[in-house]
């Protein structure tokens, strides 16, 4: 099948986030494919490996440096990529990003689209859903199991809901987003790494998508960026087990207000 996977370049999850003058400092940090997007890439590769054919195309919006991230996706086994690479896309929020991705997908041939449920940088969890709405496609989010129907016209998607499973069937094309547990992503192989450079990456700018840069201003204004508050120190309950348990119940009820 022709599958498109949306991928985003994000700071390595082990990065120590530093904030300077109201912005996250991005100098000198290492970048990765957002981990949820890696599940999506892996699932697309597995689907086509199982079907014994087809094509996996990566679609990535990001600056020049995102090429490196795209190349990793190609090393994993994707066949080609489209890089939405235009400074006009650079200051976008989820609204703009979705608009650009939707415009790109309109130009592409695909059976369905996979993406991560959210990018681990800003954790918006909006883009894939917005793209689906803009393209008037069905969408199923946070999927941990994906089964194609024999006729490949629909897919059964399993999701986790409060200790149970929710199974949704969608017609295709659709946009399906990956949750942890969908699969175990592979490592890029030596052959994949050495072959990645030969795989085509097409750059599209606003003009290629028929988008007017003036319409690409963010709807979201960032007023301030603050690190999360430091975790308060833990509390040690004194006394024997009976006393401590009694005190714990009191604290859970009166202080934490969870029981």
């Amino acid at each position: 099948m022709n599958l498109v996977v949306l991928i985003k370049r994000v700071p390595d999850t082990e990065t120590r986030i530093q904030i300077k003058e109201g912005k996250v400092v991005t100098d000198g940090i290492s970048w990765i494919i957002s981990p949820y997007d890696e599940y999506a890439v892996e699932e697309a590769l597995r689907i086509n490996e199982k079907l014994g054919g087809g094509k996996v195309t990566l679609l990535c919006l990001g600056p020049n440096d995102a090429k490196e991230t795209i190349r990793k996706g190609l090393a994993l086994g994707a066949d080609d990529a489209v890089h939405l690479n235009d400074p006009a896309f650079g200051n976008g929020d989820a609204t703009v990003t979705a608009k650009v991705l939707a415009a790109a997908l309109k130009k592409m041939q695909y059976d369905f689209v996979l993406a991560g449920k959210q990018a681990v940088d800003e954790d918006n969890a909006q883009v894939a859903v917005r793209v689906a709405e803009l393209l008037d496609l069905p969408h199923v989010n946070s999927v941990i199991k994906l089964e194609l129907a024999a006729d490949k016209q629909s897919a059964q998607c399993t999701r986790e809901v409060d200790g149970d499973r929710d199974v949704a069937t969608t017609t295709l094309p659709a946009i399906i987003t990956a949750q942890q547990g969908l699969n175990e992503p592979r490592y890029p192989s030596l052959k994949g790494i050495m072959g990645a450079k030969k795989k085509p990456i097409v750059d599209w700018k606003a003009a290629d998508l028929g988008l007017d840069p003036a319409t690409l201003s963010a709807k979201l204004e960032t007023v301030r960026v603050d690190p999360p508050p430091a975790r308060p120190p833990g509390k040690k309950l004194a006394g024997d087990a009976a006393t401590a348990a009694k005190e714990l119940v009191r604290l859970l009820r009166e202080e934490a207000k969870v029981i």
Binding site: E68, R186, Y187, S189, L190, I193, M194, A196
Partner: protein, 389 residues
């Protein structure tokens, strides 16, 4: 002059590191406690790595290997330094470059199965009376018909319990001095071959080090590796690559891993109301380690680059061996110091890494021997060995 990594190099090193961190490092403590790697785990990591093309990456593609350049091989070896010896052997293979001298017939029997991971080879040169003085070996191959009869023994043979064939150095002409030594491919199941004690060592737990004995083993012409009398030259060549990759590069990788552990700890550990990394005496240990690691790494890459230029790097390799091994020794020592009591305690891997580090200044030629070689070359060739023009 280009110091950056290519896109492929970066991806390869990231991918190998990722594999090491997720698949190999979690097994390290278990190997240390049990004293060996479970065969089922050895098989599992071999199969995973092989499927990714990470096994025998140093071997040319014509023999079924990964076909990496010397520099790329050395950079992957540096990554291998982030885990322990036995896990490297099983996951990535230890296919010695000397096996590339195999004839077509020998390739079928020894090299190709080795690249496939179906057979494993150990180098058997060291004897109780012949360490750095490797020409002083007593193992003897006496001409018999069109072949030889091999007698003698070796010790400290790394991975010898597991390996099923050995590259053995033996005297074929006692009157020809170092030109009277030849190399033989000797199968473990040859009649007359016995494995002696597993010699327990200070570190690198999990990699066996054994004595092996040859009691009048019949060798055919096919057992001879390279030409008769060429053994010493082949030994020096192959040990050059071992010193660069398995010693120099891995020492740099191990040093980098130790410095990472030290740095994290110095940032987290608080005494007197602040992180110990704020104390200047701790900072000195971190600064010196970073400086020495970078110096060792770029010396290492330079030596590997020489090999890719078609030169043998014989003047560079001893410098790398000394500097990388001694850097590791100092960094490991500082790591124990920065971690304090926790560096001495078996609850953390620091004490294990400290013990593992000690051998680097000894095996494959002591620091003293390599310094002697460096000095001799410098005295002979002068500025060519330390000046840029």
């Amino acid at each position: 002059m280009e110091f950056g990594l290519s896109e492929e190099q970066k991806l390869l090193l990231e991918s190998v590191r990722d594999f090491i961190v997720k698949e190999l490092q979690p097994l390290e403590e278990q190997v240390e406690t049990k004293g060996y790697l479970e065969p089922a785990q050895a098989k599992a990591i071999f199969e995973k790595s092989k499927a990714l093309g990470f096994y025998a990456m140093n071997v040319p593609e014509e023999f079924g290997g990964g076909g990496l350049s010397a520099l790329d091989t050395i950079m992957t070896e540096e990554q291998f330094g982030h885990t322990s010896d036995i896990l490297i052997r099983r996951a990535f293979g230890n296919v010695y470059e000397v096996l590339f001298k195999c004839t077509a017939a020998q390739c079928q029997r020894w090299l190709l199965p080795c690249v496939q991971g179906a057979r494993t080879c150990s180098i058997a040169i060291t004897e109780p009376g012949a360490g750095s003085d490797d020409a002083a070996i007593k193992t003897r191959a006496v001409k018999a018909g069109d072949g030889w009869r091999l007698s003698g023994g070796k010790h400290f043979i790394s991975d010898g319990l597991y390996s099923d064939f050995f590259v053995v150095s033996a005297v074929t002409d006692p009157n020809a001095g170092s030109r009277g030594i030849s190399l033989f491919l000797v199968d473990k199941d040859s009649p007359g071959f016995t494995v002696g004690r597993n010699q327990l060592m200070m570190g690198q737990v999990g990699t066996s080090c054994v004595e092996i004995f040859f009691d009048d083993i019949q060798l055919s012409p096919e057992n001879l590796l390279g030409q008769e009398g060429q053994g010493r030259k082949l030994v020096l060549e192959t040990l050059g690559r071992v010193r660069l990759g398995q010693v120099g590069a891995r020492a740099v990788g191990k040093s980098a891993k130790l410095l990472e552990l030290m740095t994290n700890y110095a940032n987290e550990r608080k005494q007197f109301g602040q992180a110990i990394g704020q104390f200047q005496l701790i900072q000195q240990m971190i600064a010196d380690s970073a400086i020495e690691i970078n110096a060792a790494r770029y010396l290492l890459y330079r030596a590997a680059w020489e090999i890719d230029q078609g030169r043998d790097a014989r003047e560079w390799i001893p410098m790398v061996k000394v500097h990388a091994a001694e850097t590791l020794g100092r960094v490991a020592d500082r790591a124990v110091q920065v971690f304090g009591g926790m560096g001495w305690c078996k609850d953390l891997p620091i004490e294990r890494l400290y013990r593992d580090a000690r051998i680097y200044r000894i095996y494959d030629g002591t620091s003293e021997i390599h310094r002697t070689v460096v000095a001799r070359e410098v005295l002979k060739k002068g500025a060519a060995l330390f000046d840029v023009i």
